[in-house]
């Protein structure tokens, strides 16, 4: 199924991707941000905070935004 995935880390990534049916938010996080810790990110599905075990649905908008972003 297709979801809109937004990663606001670094240069930013926003695109529609394919994920397997039944993928949870946590599973997507581990796939996409392998070495990162979820507590270091604001995780939103359809613009709302969610629990890690929430199962993603077709057309969901998922965003990961780092909590620590260093200004200059």
């Amino acid at each position: 199924m297709k979801i809109l995935f937004i990663n606001n880390d670094g240069g930013g990534f926003a695109d529609h991707i394919d994920v397997a049916e039944g993928t949870t938010v946590q599973a997507l996080f581990e796939q996409r941000l392998k070495s990162a810790r979820p507590e270091d990110y604001l995780i939103r599905v359809n613009r709302q905070p969610v629990s890690p075990d929430q199962v993603l649905a077709e057309g969901d908008r998922v965003s990961f935004t780092p909590t620590k972003i260093e200004g200059a």
Binding site: G10, G11, R47, Q48, T65, T67, I69, G71, A72
Partner: protein, 360 residues
């Protein structure tokens, strides 16, 4: 005055019908801006450069057919025009902005972002006439320094320009040494985005306003000591021991004698050794009025006033030396008779060579 202000207490409320209507109107206006930007004139393919290549090619073919001697010149000219065509094609390709069209935001998606902002921030303000949208952060405190809440104001007429938003301290606690710095990474209401720069640009270009505001907020909540306008350790400044004003560490001096902190105005440089001193550890020479540290100044042994070594002779000031000379020149009192004895008058001027003393 804000046409709409939605203040949220702790826990964040849902929007009401009237607030939702205002957010919808704002979303429509913002959507129009993105729509306008997407309809800008597309870049033209490099047709003039291609026609030029054709023209020189025709000339070359003619010269070749008629066996003219200018064939070499025409080949060179054709190569030059092919180079220009290649550059024009590259420029045309780089001007294509195909990616942004994939993320052309709609009023619906923008509205959804604005509604979500009400849950993420303490307050949201919409000024439809003036064309800006603001969110208010919770009070920000970094390493114990309270900076207060900040307003992030986005101007939707400038969404895709270089400076679309301001960051304004609402209860400013600026750096002591520079009151234009309201946050380690904010000067003159302008945020230095650092690591967030590219992501912020992408969010604004793609109309992801919720992501934009979250990114700016997270930068405000993060302290990067390696690249701050003013470091938090210097935030309260260095207080001058003499006058009490605050200045930055870079602009302050230390007294070379007692080590206390001094501002640039109160720091006195010794005219002899150059050492910086505070008012307690330095004095002005009574003679030349220049400042000296306590090592380079001494007291006249007669009058006790402070003088530099240049103004002392044999540890005496010139005034005391002059007084001493005056004392030496005065004639001394000679008694006329004494009981039972004749005493020779004490000579005022000693006998000189070749002179004989004459008894009185």
């Amino acid at each position: 005055m804000a046409e709409f202000r939605l203040s949220q207490s702790l826990g964040r409320r849902r929007t009401t019908k009237s607030t939702d209507r205002t957010l919808l109107r704002a979303a429509l206006k913002i959507g129009e801006v993105y729509e306008r930007e997407s309809m800008k004139v597309c870049p033209e393919p490099p047709e003039p450069s291609w026609r030029e290549v054709h023209r020189v090619h025709r000339l070359w073919c003619q010269a070749n057919k008629r066996r003219w001697n200018c064939e070499r010149i025409l080949v060179r000219g054709l190569r030059m025009r092919l180079d220009e065509l290649r550059k024009a094609i590259d420029k045309f390709a780089s001007n294509l902005v195909a990616d942004s069209r994939d993320f052309l935001p709609t009023s619906k998606t923008i509205h959804a972002d604005l509604v979500a902002l009400c849950s993420e921030f303490a307050e949201i303000q919409v000024e439809l006439r003036e064309g800006h949208l603001s969110v208010i952060t919770d009070p920000i405190s970094l390493e114990g320094v309270k900076l207060g809440p900040f307003e992030i104001r986005l101007y939707w007429s400038r969404l895709l320009s270089g400076h679309a938003y301001d960051v304004h301290a609402l209860e400013p606690n600026p750096a002591a040494a520079n009151d234009s710095v309201s946050h380690p990474h904010v000067q003159d209401d302008s945020l230095c985005e650092g690591e967030g720069k590219v992501a912020i640009r992408a969010a604004l270009q793609q109309g992801r306003l919720l992501d934009f505001f979250l990114l700016v907020r997270q930068i405000l909540e993060t302290y990067n000591p390696r690249s701050a306008y003013v470091q938090l350790s210097d935030w309260l400044g260095v207080t001058c021991s003499d006058c009490g004003t605050s200045s930055s560490e870079d602009e302050s001096f230390g007294c070379g004698r007692c080590g206390c902190d001094l501002c640039g105005d109160c720091s006195r440089s010794c005219s002899s050794c150059g050492q910086a001193s505070c008012s307690s550890c330095s004095s002005a020479c009574t003679g030349c009025d220049a400042d000296y540290c306590s090592s380079c100044i001494s007291a006249c042994r007669d009058c006790g006033e402070d003088y530099c070594t240049g103004c002392l002779t044999d540890r005496k000031c010139s005034s005391c030396l002059e007084s001493e000379d005056d004392e030496d020149e005065k004639p001394q009192h000679v008694p006329e008779e004494t009981t039972g004895e004749t005493i020779a008058a004490t000579a005022v001027h000693a006998l000189r060579l070749g002179e004989a003393g004459i008894p009185a």
